[in-house]
């Protein structure tokens, strides 16, 4: 198993009802597995647009490893 720490922000945190949680993914997990786990856990996120960051870098694909800091980021609104 691959244990990662998830962080949710803005609309995503509001819908998830938590700001952070631990998730366990199967060995060989990647960004796509994060998407799948997320949609399964929070079906209401299906219609929302968000980006995924792994260890504070936006990632559209690639592996996710034990201990990674994974964040689900709704559209940015700074400025």
């Amino acid at each position: 198993m691959v244990r990662i720490t998830m962080y949710y922000f803005g609309l995503i945190a509001e819908k998830a009802g938590v700001a952070t949680e631990q998730l366990e993914l199967l060995q060989g997990a990647d960004v796509e597995s994060v998407h799948q786990a997320l949609q399964e856990r929070y079906p209401s996120l299906q219609s929302d647009s968000y980006q995924v960051s792994v260890n504070r870098k936006i990632c559209t694909n690639g592996p996710v490893s034990e201990g990674d800091e994974v964040a689900i980021l709704p559209p940015f609104a700074g400025g």
């Binding site: 922000f9 803005g10 609309l11 509001e14 504070r56 940015f76 609104a77 700074g78 400025g79």
Partner: protein
């Protein structure tokens, strides 16, 4: 060892007096010929008949500061700047108050103006800051940068 990035976040609105202080602090740098400043102010937008009365800002602070550090490096590579200062508010900022402050200084005006614009555009695009628009009365909507 990686050095800790600067923290661009301040709690609450940016007071107008901050501008006077920033400028005054740069008057002994006699190689500066131009300052360029951008300020974001919370707007009372009307959305479907409801009026925004404040924006509650939050951020993925660690990633935001790291991304800002990268943008800052790009700016100093691209433009001939003497210095640059950037602040963004967190927490609830009422309409009319300042939530974003970019201040650049250079020998030459074009460099300062272009650098400020680059900071503003890249920060809005790449830095994970989130805004909850709070309506008068009740209700809210999540802000999306255009």
């Amino acid at each position: 060892m990686k050095k800790k990035p600067k923290n661009i976040f301040v709690e609450g609105a940016i007071p107008p007096e901050k501008l006077a202080t920033s400028v005054a602090n740069h008057q002994d740098r006699t190689n500066i010929g131009a300052h360029s400043i951008f300020l974001g102010q919370v707007r009372a937008d009307e959305i479907d008949g409801k009026v925004v009365e404040a924006i509650e800002f939050s951020a993925y602070e660690e990633m935001a500061n790291e991304t800002y550090a990268a943008i800052r490096e790009e700016v100093f590579e691209k433009f001939d700047l003497t210095c640059a200062h950037v602040y963004h508010s967190l927490g609830t900022i009422p309409v009319g108050q300042l939530c974003f402050y970019v201040f650049t200084s250079s020998q030459r005006r074009k460099q300062a103006m272009a650098a400020t614009e680059y900071f503003v555009e890249e920060i809005k695009k790449r830095v994970p800051i989130f805004g909850k628009e709070l309506f008068e009365g009740e209700g809210h909507q999540w802000k999306v940068n255009s």
